[in-house]
């Protein structure tokens, strides 16, 4: 493999506008990308985000649209190339594997004939040579050559995909563009196709652009990935890193909707419809959009090594950063270090599960972060500003903590309504009526009755689960952006627990609400967590994306914890 500094393919400021009868549709909007030789680039995005249009434009196949910008392939301008030259470039230099469907293949020709077609067009072969080449190609893509005399409708979806691949590879192209190679295939066939592509790329050494909804295929086959939204690039980076830690809210939304990344996690689609406008195209659906997001289009800028993001806020916001938190308890004759220099980051719209056995320092860490416990060393930053004097917890839309023990987290002597609206009373928010209305609203969220008689009940007359929910309602009343939840569901029955967690997850996806979820219930953590930190003896021994930690733990303690936790699975 040769390493050229220059790009094999370069797209600059490409725009494609389809002119319909009534309106113009911008399929690709000032898009730029570069692909080096031997590289494989994945393009992800929802349907209609312009992925296929981009592929067609690179092939020079846009017929009824207005194309602006520049596409350079090996220093040759594709958009300016003549039709004859384009035909040469196609198949020989760049080949496209079309999205798999019956219409792509000609129903009245045998597949052998169809594979011969590009061969015949691009080189001089004798009939004998052609036949040999077809057999060779079919063997290459793992299809029995006997099928060459069959018609497309005789073949299964997986077989047709192989035929399309054979056609694309017939002239040994330098760049292969694959559009949705695995759509509609069963898992076994899908895996076979992916393995085949992997093997072929190694053997034939072509560069590749792969367009797919399927994050699993992208993860398997590409080294870099690009997220497209409304014809624009919103994030580019190394596949491994992007999938593990997306920086753009849209990329994260796509990952959260993908079932094959982590099979236990809940699925959450992205709310709303695409509405490209003046400002950031994603702003109407974004969970962290602010006033300045609607003004201008954000440029694609570097935010980390090999990572560019188009976002006015520089990607997903960081809500919480705890640096080197250390807490020691003084006992009579000894010192116990409960938390040893722990650092932690939580981004907007992220659920971080802090797991570990009891006594590992989880609660101490949580209390230190929330500021209810004075730390020996370390600082806490909320949205980039250092937290002093509890400023982050005494505001609307700040940080809140929910304590583990419901009987101690609410006063038995107080009435339920007074407990729930206490934060509002303390920060003197609005007037009495509004405080009450808001408290009732939050009680509904946690599924408690809101009759006058119930509101006037004293907390000591409530059950543990009810009191826990009262405490949760009290935390929600200030509309926190970050919730530190210390074993909040341990007192709840499974149904209430499920409902509450779904509500919190809903908030997370709609409003960018994030949560530090402290638990020893790994089943729950597996269901809701985006990231996992494993704590043992005051240290975070392992941290990372939940699918990696919970599927494939590296640290011996995590392995032990997981085997014990999931041993009793029914």
């Amino acid at each position: 493999m040769s390493h050229h500094k220059e790009y094999l393919l370069k797209v600059d400021d490409l725009s494609i506008v389809y002119t319909g009868e009534d309106d113009k549709v911008k399929a690709v909007d000032q898009l730029s990308l570069g692909l080096k030789e031997g590289e494989s680039l994945g393009i992800i995005g929802e349907s209609g985000s312009g992925k296929s249009s981009l592929a067609l434009a690179i092939m020079g196949l846009i017929k009824d649209g207005e194309v602006q910008g520049k596409i350079t392939y090996q220093e040759e301008d594709i958009l300016a190339a003549s039709a004859k030259r384009l035909k040469e470039i196609r198949w020989q230099k760049i080949a496209l594997v079309f999205q798999n469907s019956l219409e792509v293949l000609n129903p009245v020709l045998t597949i052998g004939e169809q594979i011969k077609e590009p061969l015949r067009r691009n080189a001089q072969y004798s009939a004998q040579e052609l036949e040999e080449r077809v057999i060779e190609l079919l063997e290459l893509v793992g299809l029995n050559p006997d099928w060459r005399d069959s018609y497309p409708h005789n073949l299964s979806g997986g077989m047709r995909q192989r035929v399309l691949l054979a056609m694309a590879l017939s002239c040994e192209p330098e760049l292969l563009i694959i559009d949705e190679p695995t759509t509609g295939l069963d898992p076994v066939t899908k895996d076979e196709i992916l393995q085949l592509l992997k093997k072929l790329q190694q053997r034939m050494d072509f560069s590749m652009i792969m367009i797919s909804h399927d994050i699993g295929s992208i993860k398997e086959l590409t080294s870099r990935v690009m997220t497209m939204y409304c014809g624009q690039v919103v994030e580019v980076g190394l596949t491994d890193k992007v999938l593990r830690d997306p920086f753009h809210p849209y990329t994260r939304g796509l990952l959260n909707s993908s079932p094959n990344l982590f099979k236990y996690k809940d699925l959450w689609g992205i709310e709303g419809e695409a509405k490209p406008g003046e400002g950031c195209a994603f702003s109407s659906r974004c969970c962290q959009s602010g006033a300045n997001c609607f003004g201008a289009r954000p440029p694609l800028e570097y935010v980390a090594v090999e990572r560019r993001v188009a976002c006015h806020k520089g990607g997903i916001e960081e809500f919480l950063e705890a640096r080197n938190i250390k807490k020691t308890y003084q006992l009579k004759d000894k010192e116990i270090t409960a938390v040893k220099e722990v650092s932690l980051k939580i981004k907007s719209g992220e659920v971080v599960a802090l797991v570990g056995k009891s006594g590992s320092g989880k609660s101490t860490l949580a209390h230190s972060i929330a500021g209810v416990l004075d730390v020996d060393e370390g600082e806490v930053y909320y949205r980039g500003e250092q937290v002093t004097d509890n400023w982050a917890t005494k505001m609307i839309g700040g940080m809140q903590i929910i304590f583990q023990d419901p009987s101690s987290s609410t006063s038995s002597r107080m009435k339920l309504l007074d407990v729930v609206k206490e934060p509002l009373e303390i920060i003197k928010w609005e007037d009495r009526e509004q405080r009450k209305a808001k408290a009732i609203d939050c009680l509904k969220k946690v599924q408690l009755p809101t009759t006058e008689a119930f509101l006037n009940r004293y907390c000591h007359a409530l059950s543990g689960g009810q009191r826990q929910r009262v405490a949760i309602a009290r935390a929600l009343v200030t509309e926190p952006k970050l919730l530190i939840a210390d074993e909040i569901t341990s007192m709840l029955d499974p149904s209430t627990q499920a409902n509450l967690l779904r509500k919190l997850k809903g908030l997370q996806n709609q409003e960018g609400f994030s949560m530090l979820y402290i638990t020893h219930d790994l089943h729950l953590a597996r269901k809701i967590a985006d990231k996992v930190c494993v704590m043992n003896e005051g240290e975070i021994v392992e941290r990372g994306v939940s699918f990696e930690i919970l599927e494939n733990p590296k640290h011996i303690y995590t392995q032990k914890l997981l085997t014990k936790a999931f041993k009793g699975l029914i």
């Binding site: 209810v372 917890t393 903590i401 304590f403 987290s409 002597r413 934060p423 303390i426 405490a471």
Partner: protein, 286 residues
């Protein structure tokens, strides 16, 4: 409707008391009524002579008269006002003051707590009666000074009880939550600590008032009371100052009735105090 509910809850509260407690409550209520309606209850004035000196109880003077011919029933009804005022006044002052000191010491901790605890230690080892006599003599005999002096020696108990209670309370997470919402010390004291310790303070008040009433009687007995406001202690003091009272039969009314009133009051308070303690802290049981 509201009033109806309140009466109902009052009756329910009354039912929680034991037989002796109920008796105590009724007696206290009677003494209170006696103090309130003192001028109307006795036909004779309590400061002027209204008959011959040292008449034994008869239909005119139901409890007899003293050496100056002042009606004893009138003196006792009016003396109830003084005794109750001193008792409850001292108790309230000591309980509220001590309570707030206890809360502040426990909640703020550190130096304030240390200073307060040492102060309590000093007050505890100080012999209270001699110092009280000294102080009462120093400040001069007035009702207010008596209350003040008694309160100075009474706040220690409530302060200690409240301090230990608040030390426990401030570790509760609802206090921590309130702090994290930005609650100031005054808010916490007003909304959380005081309501939480008020039952304990109520018990203290009952205990302290009984102690204060006896102490006031003691001070009066020693001649340190306010001579213008004749409390029960002062009546006893006067009676005992009558030379050779035990050789006569005068003590049968002059000494007996104020003593009886004092005893009934303190015993009733003790009964109530014991029951209240049980009701406030169910763990004590019965």
């Amino acid at each position: 409707m509201e009033l109806h509910l309140k009466i109902k809850s009052a009756i329910n509260a009354f039912k929680k008391f034991s037989l002796s407690g109920k008796l105590g409550l009724i007696l206290i209520l009677l003494i209170l009524l006696m103090a309130i309606f003192a001028p109307w209850l006795s036909p004779h004035p309590h400061q002027r002579s209204s008959g011959s000196a040292l008449i034994p109880p008869d239909s005119e003077h139901i409890l007899g008269t003293d050496d100056l011919g002042i009606d004893l029933w009138a003196q006792i009804t009016n003396g109830a006002r003084i005794s109750l005022l001193v008792g409850f006044g001292t108790a309230l002052l000591a309980a509220v003051g001590g309570g707030i000191m206890g809360i502040v010491a426990a909640y703020k901790g550190g130096l304030i707590d240390k200073i307060l605890m040492r102060l309590i230690d000093i007050m505890m080892v100080m012999p209270d009666l001699p110092v009280m006599i000294l102080l009462a003599a120093f400040f001069g005999p007035s009702l207010f000074n008596i209350i003040l002096v008694l309160a100075i020696f009474s706040w220690i108990r409530p302060a200690r009880i409240v301090r230990s209670q608040v030390l426990m309370l401030k570790e509760q997470s609802y206090i921590k939550s309130a702090e994290s919402y930005g609650a100031k010390s005054w808010y916490l004291i007003r909304k959380h600590f005081l309501p939480e310790v008020s039952p304990l303070l109520a018990v203290s008040i009952i205990r302290l008032s009984s102690r204060a009433i006896v102490a006031e009687a003691g001070l009066s007995f020693l001649g340190l009371g306010d001579p213008t406001s004749r409390s029960w202690g002062l009546i006893i003091h006067h009676a005992l100052n009558f030379q050779g009272i035990y050789y006569t039969s005068f003590w049968r009314w002059w000494l007996l009735y104020p003593w009886l009133a004092l005893t009934i009051l303190t015993v009733s308070l003790a009964f109530i105090g014991r029951d209240l303690e049980r009701i406030v802290d169910p763990r004590l049981g019965n």
